[in-house]
């Protein structure tokens, strides 16, 4: 063992490594930068719960050496709402994919963001369902080939930054897997936020998306993300364009508003104080 400080080694569940992800997959970057961000923040790892849904990135909750829960497909956010409100001292970090969070789990995203429940949501957006063999999903670009769009996708894709902003998220950012340092800094900001924060990370999937769309080589995928990334001109989500030849990256929302679990518990204290003042134990006629 070397003496070099390696947060990846100490913050992963060693019995679970090696991970299942393919060569060239961006999920390893997310895992690495997430753990480095926590390390640089000196975050209390006993207060953090990693929650994931189903899909390749869904396995991440098994790799982090934290309390962690691998839910059913799409339900990570709803699980996290129950966890956070029942025990507000915990910080849920939901890490999942575009299909999990925005197709099957889309409704839960709307309402967790709308309520501003304190949690960080990291979406690995690879434009496809990788684990099931590369089908089209809610972010698949028009014209892209997938195993269920053999003639090219005709669906209008969802812009996750605009969607998250419209739902009421208090921090919204987008990066690609090549923006390693920016991902780490952005995650630090997102995790520090007392509210619903959302970080989209565009990840390459050479195996299941790249091969079908003429970019099968991992390095070529990284070059693609580098070449099409554009840093934002302003923090306006409306300008957060995302298409195969142009992906605007940056921070698009950073606002403050009352957080849900705080409000729940403020209410509990207020209701109990009113009861005490009135000399009663309940407002209900039993």
């Amino acid at each position: 063992m070397s003496n070099i400080h390696n947060p990846i080694e100490t913050s992963t569940r060693q019995g679970m490594i090696p991970h299942i992800w393919c060569n060239g997959c961006g999920n390893g970057v997310i895992l690495g930068e997430f753990l480095r961000a926590l390390d640089e923040m000196n975050y209390d790892m006993n207060k953090l719960v990693v929650v994931s849904g189903i899909g390749c990135i869904g396995r991440i909750s098994g790799y982090t050496n934290t309390d962690s829960f691998h839910t059913t497909h799409g339900r990570a956010l709803a699980f996290a709402v129950g966890l956070k409100t029942a025990k507000p001292s915990l910080k849920p970090v939901v890490i999942s994919g575009d299909g999990d969070l925005f197709a099957i789990g889309g409704n839960h995203f709307i309402h967790a963001a709308r309520r501003n429940v304190d949690m960080t949501v990291i979406c690995s957006n690879n434009f496809t369902y990788g684990m099931t063999g590369g089908q089209s999903g809610p972010t698949t670009p028009i014209g892209a080939y997938t195993s269920t769009t053999r003639y090219g996708s005709i669906d209008h894709p969802l812009n996750l930054v605009q969607f998250a902003a419209a739902c009421g998220a208090t921090y919204v950012a987008r990066w690609t897997a090549i923006h390693v340092k920016r991902i780490r800094d952005s995650l630090k900001k997102a995790i520090s936020k007392n509210g619903f924060s959302f970080v989209e990370i565009i990840t390459a999937c050479p195996e299941e998306y790249g091969r079908k769309n003429k970019i099968p080589d991992p390095i070529e995928n990284m070059k693609w993300l580098r070449d099409v990334s554009e840093f934002q001109a302003s923090a306006n989500p409306a300008e957060a364009i995302i298409q195969p030849d142009k992906m605007v990256v940056g921070e698009f929302v950073d606002i403050e508003k009352p957080e849900f679990a705080n409000s729940v518990w403020d209410n509990i204290r207020r209701i109990q104080a009113d009861l005490d003042k009135a000399g009663r134990t309940t407002n209900v006629t039993l």
């Binding site: 679970m16 839910t71 059913t72 709803a78 129950g82 025990k87 209900v284």
Partner: protein, 364 residues
């Protein structure tokens, strides 16, 4: 209200739910009462989320519940499977209405009792209780929490619209008179803790998130450490058999029934929920007419009291099963009753069987 007060008496501190007739009153009452006792009420976006949220709250260390009716119960099935697989103590109340689909939302039924057992995919066991009175609604909700905590298993209170909307006397005992059971806590330090190692009773000890145990729970097939074993046939059979056997092998301790006039009966009526009230009237009237009728009231629906039904079947000539459905628990009765004649009385529509409906069959 009796159900909600039972939950609060049992120590419930989290309710996640979605409005649905005829179960909404439970959510409404919980929304007023929980904040008074340091409990959290969250109205979720749907029943899928409600079920996920109560699993999250349970892993945060609190007793949690939801309440719904048929359509919502269908949506919950996905995460009921997750609760069974991750051995999450939690309580689901189903105030049954008439189905299938939207059916008759304000009318009563007992059409979800098989769904309670078989609703999610794969092999697993749950516990389900069926109250027959307002007092039992209170008592069995407490019992449901105690069983959920004892066996780390989703536990259902399967009631129906009639019991749900019944007004009758309820005695709430003093808190010190109520038996409360809490989940087994880890006896080992985090470095030695195995979150899915069954004890002698096959039930694992349960740590809470945020205490430093840093454990992993997954809906994937997993080993005693919680790590996925998605390809191992040994782990698949070991895990699934344990989560089933912790209920099957403890069924003798879980199952409750009520036997009335069965000692010398030649005809046994087997009923549960509101229908058992009509059945009792039928038995009393029949006895007055000299017929040797008896009643076996099922308080526990699942695990099914098969040994007790088999014993009763040996004693009597005939069994009658009235249900507000088109034939559900009667299948379990037939399975347990050997070759004894079983007569089924279905009832679909706006109300439960009258005592005369049951008596005319019994005297037939």
């Amino acid at each position: 209200m009796a159900c909600a007060e039972g939950a609060i008496a049992a120590g419930c501190k989290f309710f996640g739910g979605y409005p649905i007739t005829p179960a909404t009153e439970i959510a409404e009452h919980m929304s007023r009462r929980l904040p008074e006792v340091d409990g959290v009420f969250v109205q979720m976006e749907d029943e899928i989320a409600s079920m996920a949220a109560i699993i999250g709250a349970s892993y945060a260390g609190v007793k949690s519940m939801t309440a719904t009716s048929g359509p919502g119960f269908s949506l919950m099935q996905e995460n009921i499977g997750l609760a069974a697989m991750t051995e999450t103590p939690c309580v689901v109340v189903d105030v049954m209405r008439a189905g299938p689909s939207t059916g008759q939302p304000t009318k009563t039924g007992q059409q979800d009792v098989m769904q309670a057992k078989w609703g999610s995919h794969g092999d697993y066991e749950i516990i389900a209780l069926a109250p027959s009175s307002v007092q039992e609604m209170f008592d069995l909700t407490i019992e449901a929490f105690n069983l959920a905590e004892t066996y780390r298993c989703p536990t259902f209170v399967m009631t129906d619209e009639i019991i749900g909307h019944l007004m009758e006397r309820l005695t709430i005992p003093a808190p010190e008179e109520i038996r409360i059971v809490n989940r087994k806590r880890p006896t080992k330090p985090p470095s030695e803790y195995l979150p899915f190692l069954g004890g002698e009773d096959l039930v694992p000890e349960m740590a809470t998130f945020g205490e430093g145990y840093r454990f992993y729970a997954t809906g994937l097939t997993h080993d005693e450490t919680g790590h996925p074993q998605a390809d191992s046939p040994e782990h698949q059979s070991k895990l699934v058999m344990r989560i089933c056997d912790k209920i099957r092998k403890n069924a003798g301790k879980i199952v409750k029934v009520e036997q009335t006039f069965l000692d010398d009966a030649d005809t046994c009526i087997i009923a549960y929920g509101s229908v058992a009230r009509s059945a009792l009237s039928a038995v009393v009237e029949g006895r007055a007419k000299g017929a040797k009728l008896g009643l076996l009231r099922l308080i526990t629906l699942w695990p099914f009291p098969e040994d007790i039904v088999a014993q009763v079947a040996d004693q009597v000539d005939r069994i009658i099963v009235p249900e507000m459905n088109y034939g559900q628990m009667v299948r379990e009765v037939e399975r347990s009753a050997g070759r004894k004649k079983v007569t089924f009385i279905p009832r679909l529509g706006d109300a439960l069987h009258t005592p005369e409906d049951i008596l005319s069959q019994a005297l037939h």
